[in-house]
């Protein structure tokens, strides 16, 4: 590799990461409904307030009549009267009849500029009898507007604003896999040729990969706390992640236990090959056969293709390349340190 190319990929990686961090934190989230209060409705006239997250869904100077809220019970719509619109909330008056097809009500908010917002099982009516809604209570389906939101991230229930973690957590795991794969190849090279250079590469790769693995674990733990409510849960994907970090810590412990024994290269390579194959089994194969909370549980341990829309892709792909090149850069620095240390020791 010549000097100019070095500048291009290192500088390019930094520029991409700067773009990812700026764009990732400054891009607004599409609006979406979060809660309804009160969630238990009585029969008769009352008011309900629906609260939203993300960017404001109201338009400046829009009139109340442009916002329509309907509640859906079963396959029938219940009409409401809009009373107040705030940037992140809407209050409606609703007259709840004594008979409903279902006790659970889904809320739809039709807005002039942000499209239709939806909240499943928003409210419950304990006292309602089962039956069709009386015709005077039934709403007609309003016209849907086309959202005009500009560049914004998609709204996902439960994840909400934490969707930005996708730009940190996932690329960090990708980088770890990439660099551990490099270490695996280096260890194979060590076993084939017995050359010290391959061992130095493997050591540098594992060390860098372990750092990214720990970062991925930390960001994942934060995300789990936010979406699942616990810092750690028993889950095949998480078990695999923990085992990965422990395995590669074992690699470093093995190396330091060998001290300056000249067989350290070969033995570490043997352990690394074994560990990597176990890792692939663990992270790729086992989670597919057991239930998981982690995204992509239906046979694919990544994000579902429907969860990534174009705005997120425009930041996610640069994030993958940016974190990957940072990881590789760190690996080359560590490798250089290893080479210098080796040449000093073998003088």
């Amino acid at each position: 590799m010549n000097g100019a190319w070095n500048w291009i990929w290192k500088g390019g990686g930094i520029v991409l990461l700067a773009y990812v961090i700026l764009r990732g934190f400054s891009t607004p989230l599409q609006p979406g409904l979060v809660t309804a209060a009160p969630s238990q409705l009585k029969l008769g006239m009352q008011t309900v307030t629906l609260t939203a997250a993300g960017q404001p869904f109201g338009k400046e100077g829009a009139s109340l009549s442009e916002f329509t809220v309907v509640l859906r019970a079963g396959d029938q719509l219940l009409k409401t009267e809009t009373q107040e619109v705030q940037p992140h909330g809407i209050t409606v008056a609703v007259n709840v009849p004594g008979v409903l097809p279902s006790r659970a009500l889904d809320a739809f908010v039709f807005t002039p500029s942000a499209g239709t917002l939806f909240l499943g099982n928003a409210c419950f009516v304990e006292e309602a009898a089962k039956g069709d809604i009386p015709t005077s209570y039934v709403a007609n389906k309003p016209d849907e507007s086309t959202p005009q939101l500009g560049f914004s991230f998609p709204f996902q229930p439960n994840i909400i604003e934490s969707i930005r973690n996708l730009l940190w957590h996932v690329p960090m795991w990708f980088s770890m896999f990439f660099i551990m794969g490099l270490g695996f190849v280096a260890s194979l090279g060590q076993l084939r040729t017995g050359k010290v250079m391959w061992d130095l590469r493997a050591e540098a790769a594992v060390r860098t990969g372990l750092l990214f693995g720990l970062l991925g674990l930390a960001t994942g733990s934060l995300w789990a706390r936010w979406t699942w409510g616990a810092w750690w849960v028993s889950d095949p994907q998480l078990n695999g992640a923990l085992v990965t970090v422990l395995l590669y810590s074992g690699y470093l412990i093995l190396r330091s236990a060998m001290g300056d024994d000249d067989r350290v290269g070969r033995l570490a390579a043997v352990y690394n090959v074994f560990a990597f194959v176990m890792l692939v089994i663990l992270l790729m194969v086992l989670p597919r056969y057991t239930e998981s909370l982690h995204p992509g549980k239906d046979g694919n341990p990544g994000f579902n293709k429907y969860d990534l829309d174009n705005s997120l892709r425009a930041v996610f792909y640069p994030a993958v390349i940016g974190w990957g090149s940072l990881c590789y850069w760190m690996y080359t620095l560590r490798l250089r340190m290893n080479r210098i240390a080796y040449s000093l020791l073998s003088r």
Binding site: V243, L247, M258, D261, A269, V270, F274, A275, Y289
Partner: protein, 230 residues
């Protein structure tokens, strides 16, 4: 790496040698047995004769795991010294590791009988488990789970034996993360065998355990010559 008749004969000799030495140096065999039974007795005392299926399973596999460490952890101790030099001239590495793996199958069988037997003798069946409807699955699960543990430990103790100082603790440090998936599967299978979960749902766990055992054994066979050829 060719699997010849000579290799298999070597493997058989190594396995027989291991077993004969175990019998003649009775103290090592007795040490494993004593460890297993004493641990089960501690579990019996600590649980105050009342166990639910989950804690029964947890204690069973903890006892099994550390008995496995005691039994397999010293498998390559003899090869540290002059015996190593002798074997390097006479046995090929593939034969040697195959012999050790054969030996681990025998160890697994003995350990399963010992640990499971001691558990049933002292602790009895866990409360709330109801009538045991799948005894074959319980025994098969213990044996297959044990096999996946001992096979991995053979490889780990081969690596750890190459380190001059403190290889006992090193074996545990290297082994535990490698054994976590096997233990997760084994404990689930045992819990399932004690519950009224139908056979069909649990059927994939023995298959997984067998596949992991076969995979680790193959990896150990491929990689061991590199450890041995020092």
């Amino acid at each position: 790496m060719a699997l010849s008749l000579r290799t298999l004969r070597n493997a058989w000799t190594v396995a027989r040698l291991e077993w004969q030495l175990e019998w003649r140096q009775g103290h090592q065999l007795a040490a494993v047995g004593l460890f297993a039974v004493a641990s089960v007795y501690v579990a019996f005392q600590a649980s105050d004769q009342r166990t639910d299926p989950a804690s029964w399973t947890a204690m069973l596999w903890l006892v099994y795991l550390f008995s496995g460490f005691t039994a397999i952890g010293r498998l390559f101790d003899r090869e540290r010294s002059d015996v190593r030099r002798y074997l390097q001239w006479t046995a090929d590495p593939l034969g040697l590791i195959l012999g050790k793996l054969f030996h681990s199958i025998l160890t697994t069988t003995a350990l399963t009988a010992l640990v499971l037997g001691a558990f049933i003798l002292f602790l009895g069946w866990p409360q709330g488990a109801g009538e045991l409807t799948k005894p074959a699955l319980l025994v098969l699960g213990a044996w297959l789970g044990g096999l996946s543990i001992t096979v991995t430990l053979v490889f780990v103790s081969a690596v750890a034996s190459q380190v001059r100082a403190g290889s006992g603790a090193l074996g545990a440090v290297l082994g535990l993360p490698l054994l976590l998936p096997q233990l997760i599967l084994s404990t689930r299978l045992t819990r399932g065998a004690l519950s009224d979960t139908p056979w069909a749902i649990l059927a994939e766990y023995p298959l997984f355990l067998a596949a992991i055992s076969a995979g680790t054994a193959t990896l150990a066979c491929i990689l061991f010559p590199y450890i041995w050829r020092a």
